[in-house]
């Protein structure tokens, strides 16, 4: 275990070093929040990939495939295809019309105070949901690594959480961008290595690799031996509601990404819309390659290590690290764990910064203080305090949930909230002239509320299975992912609010301005000179 700890500490030292270096350079708000808009396309693409490929992708998907087979791979597919929504619909208009946060786009032609207040609330919610999953993953990982030292899951979550928050509070966006880039490269390298080791294990024969997947052996909870074909669909999504739940998950995944505040803010760090577009493509290449390789991680863990061993040693979320341990020994295990840790650190940093930026910029300055900073640097200070608060909330809920929730599943819920609350209002404010403030507030509120309520009364919180939080015979809402209901509700809410609200002459006349600006970049925020 010592080698793991040494690698760990080495990585933490390097990342904190970068933070220190970046902290000295990020004195102004433009630098803290948007890295002076000087990030290059490839850098931003790698950083988007870094922000996106979280514990859910590296630990969660591998676990889902290792335990349920083919159905887990559905997460991989949805999470890549989602980028087409970002590329074709959201990235460029967003870059051209906003400044620091998702809400800038909404506030552009709508009445800023109510819109920013609601958008800030939904940003905080999505980020917190997402962060809970990361904290669960981090806690499980560190608890497994330090098993000999008797560190509990709660202690691990608190320790990791505090480290991450400190990181963001001092570094800001520039440090976050660099940690994303370094982490994305490490993660790709680790995944490629792991895939090579899996294929090596099967003598470089796809035939014998896929052959092994068709008869995965494990013991069910009652102790009986099960031999199952893991390529067969239906391992996780069983009738009667399974197929519908699978479609619901798909809706959340492909429409959620374009509503994720921490991904959207990345497009403000580049100089123009063209760079934003190219950075999405860079991200798609990396993310796609990574998700294809989850085939090796997940099925590799299922065949080489097996459910039985993983269940007893760290649980489902630790399938990837256990595969590394089985194929590459303790040093490689240490390396993969360090990468997983870096992955989580980077994602939490990205989430914290988007949540705190949204609160400081949208809520504090624009809603409470009507658009002016009372003293220079106030916004940055408020953002730092928010980072601490959001981090603390996520840590507490993660401890409450415990280590057994699959992190990919938890993150998919954050996607459902983003797809239901944020995506409808972003799309409508860019494309619908008649859209007004009431529509945005209603859309955000109904999308947010419906997705959260449906999760709370769904089978992941209420139900007979062991992971459920409230045990009762049947959940009120039968689907695990609420997307299929809550995303349409978000759109309906936005439409209904618009129709019931007063027509806003200002919003409609500014639509032309937004359309011109979104499409040719006239008047868009320019790159800033570094200080």
């Amino acid at each position: 275990m010592n080698s793991t700890l040494i690698l760990f500490l080495a990585f933490i030292a390097v990342t904190l070093g970068i933070t220190y270096w970046a902290a000295k350079r990020s004195a102004t708000a433009g630098a803290y929040f948007a890295a002076n808009r000087q990030i290059k396309a490839w850098q931003n693409g790698v950083a988007v990939a870094g922000d996106y490929m979280s514990a859910a992708s590296f630990l969660g998907i591998a676990g889902l495939i290792a335990f349920n087979g083919y159905d887990g791979f559905m997460y991989s597919v949805g999470w890549l295809v989602a980028y087409l929504t970002v590329l074709l619909i959201v990235a460029e208009p967003l870059r051209n019309t906003g400044k620091y946060t998702m809400a800038d786009v909404l506030a552009y032609r709508l009445r800023p105070r109510p819109v920013r207040a609601m958008a800030s609330l939904s940003t905080l919610t999505v980020s917190t949901f997402y962060m809970i999953a990361q904290m669960v993953g981090a806690g499980a990982l560190v608890a497994l690594l330090l098993k000999g030292a008797h560190i509990s899951f709660s202690t691990a979550v608190i320790g990791v959480g505090i480290l991450m928050i400190v990181y963001v509070v001092f570094g800001g966006m520039l440090a976050t961008t660099w940690v994303q880039i370094i982490k994305a490269i490490l993660l790709m390298a680790g995944t490629i290595l792991l895939s090579i080791l899996v294929m090596n294990h099967f003598g470089w024969s796809f035939g014998s690799f896929f052959g092994a997947i068709t008869h995965v052996t494990y013991h069910d909870p009652k102790g009986a031996v099960v031999v199952k074909d893991f390529l067969q669909p239906g391992g996780m999504y069983k009738p009667p509601y399974g197929p519908l739940d699978l479609i619901s998950l798909g809706i959340a995944l492909i429409f959620g990404t374009a509503g994720l505040p921490h991904i959207l803010v990345r497009f403000y760090t580049v100089p123009d819309a063209k760079t934003a577009r190219h950075s999405v493509v860079w991200a798609m290449v990396l993310i796609g390659a990574f998700y294809i390789m989850t085939t090796f991680l997940g099925f590799g863990a299922a065949t080489v290590v097996g459910r039985d061993f993983i269940t007893k040693n760290g649980g489902q979320n630790m399938s990837g690290p256990q595969l590394a341990s089985a194929l590459g020994g303790s040093l490689f295990f240490a390396f993969i764990c360090a990468i997983a840790f870096a992955t989580i650190l980077a994602v939490v940093a990205g989430l914290t910064i988007s949540a705190s930026t949204s609160f400081a910029h949208d809520f504090w300055t624009n809603v409470i203080h009507k658009g002016t900073e009372r003293s220079p640097g106030e916004e940055v200070k408020v953002a730092r305090v928010t980072a601490f608060v959001v981090g603390a909330v996520a840590i507490l809920i993660a401890i409450e949930l415990g280590p057994n929730f699959n992190v990919a599943f938890l993150v998919a819920l954050a996607f459902a909230v983003a797809a239901s609350a944020n995506l409808p209002v972003i799309v409508l404010s860019i494309f619908w002239k008649r859209f007004n403030t009431a529509g945005a507030v209603w859309g955000l509120a109904i999308g947010l509320l419906s997705s959260i309520v449906l999760i709370l009364i769904g089978p992941s919180i209420m139900g007979p299975q062991a992971t459920a939080y409230i045990h009762r015979s049947a959940p009120i809402f039968p689907l695990q992912n609420p997307g299929i209901v809550s995303v349409p509700l978000g759109f309906v809410g936005a439409w209904l609010g618009t129709m019931l609200g007063k027509r806003e002459a200002d919003a409609e006349s500014k639509f032309t301005e937004l359309e011109v600006r979104a499409n040719i970049g006239l008047g868009a925020e320019k790159a800033m000179a570094a200080h």
Binding site: A29, G30, Y70, D71, F73, M74, S76, V77, L80, V81, Y83, L84, T85, L87, L88, I89, F206, G207, F210, G211, I213, T214, L231, Q232, P233, G234, Y237, G242, P243, L246, I247, L249, G250, I254, K274, R277, H278, V280, V281, M284, G288, Y291, I292, E373, T512, E513, E515, V516, R517, N519, I520, G521, L522, G523, E525, K526, A527, M528, A529, H531
Partner: protein, 123 residues
């Protein structure tokens, strides 16, 4: 806000985009044939591409969910249609992205022409 340190290379400085002074500028641009053509060209690519990727994507959970037997047919050794169809999603997504980047080169050129004309004729 520290935006005063803008780079100077940009052709147009509409630093206060919503001010009354520049309000007419937006309408002027929006009224030009060039701008209308740009919008039409974008719609002609983005709308079919979006519909296609959404339909192609949702075919996967739909077929896998409702026709698991058919999708489980082995077509390449032990590999079934379900896995190959899932894998194809990655390549289709990359293909659409590539086609969009190619099409967007024309959009950029059109936008640059509009911006250049504005810079020449504007204030």
């Amino acid at each position: 806000m520290p935006d005063s340190t803008q780079k100077t290379g940009a052709p147009i400085q509409a630093s206060a985009p919503s001010s009354a002074a520049s309000a007419s500028q937006w309408d002027r641009v929006a009224a030009t044939d060039e701008f209308k053509q740009l919008l039409k060209a974008k719609v002609r690519f983005v709308v079919p591409a979006t519909i296609f990727f959404i339909v192609y994507y949702f075919l996967l959970p739909f077929l896998v969910g409702y026709y698991p037997k058919t999708m489980d047919k082995r077509v390449w050794g032990p590999v079934n249609i379900a896995y190959l169809f899932a894998l194809s999603q990655f390549f289709v997504a990359w293909l659409i992205a590539w086609l969009y980047v190619r099409a967007a080169r024309n959009f950029d050129a059109q936008a640059d022409r509009i911006l250049a004309r504005l810079a020449k004729g504007g204030k």
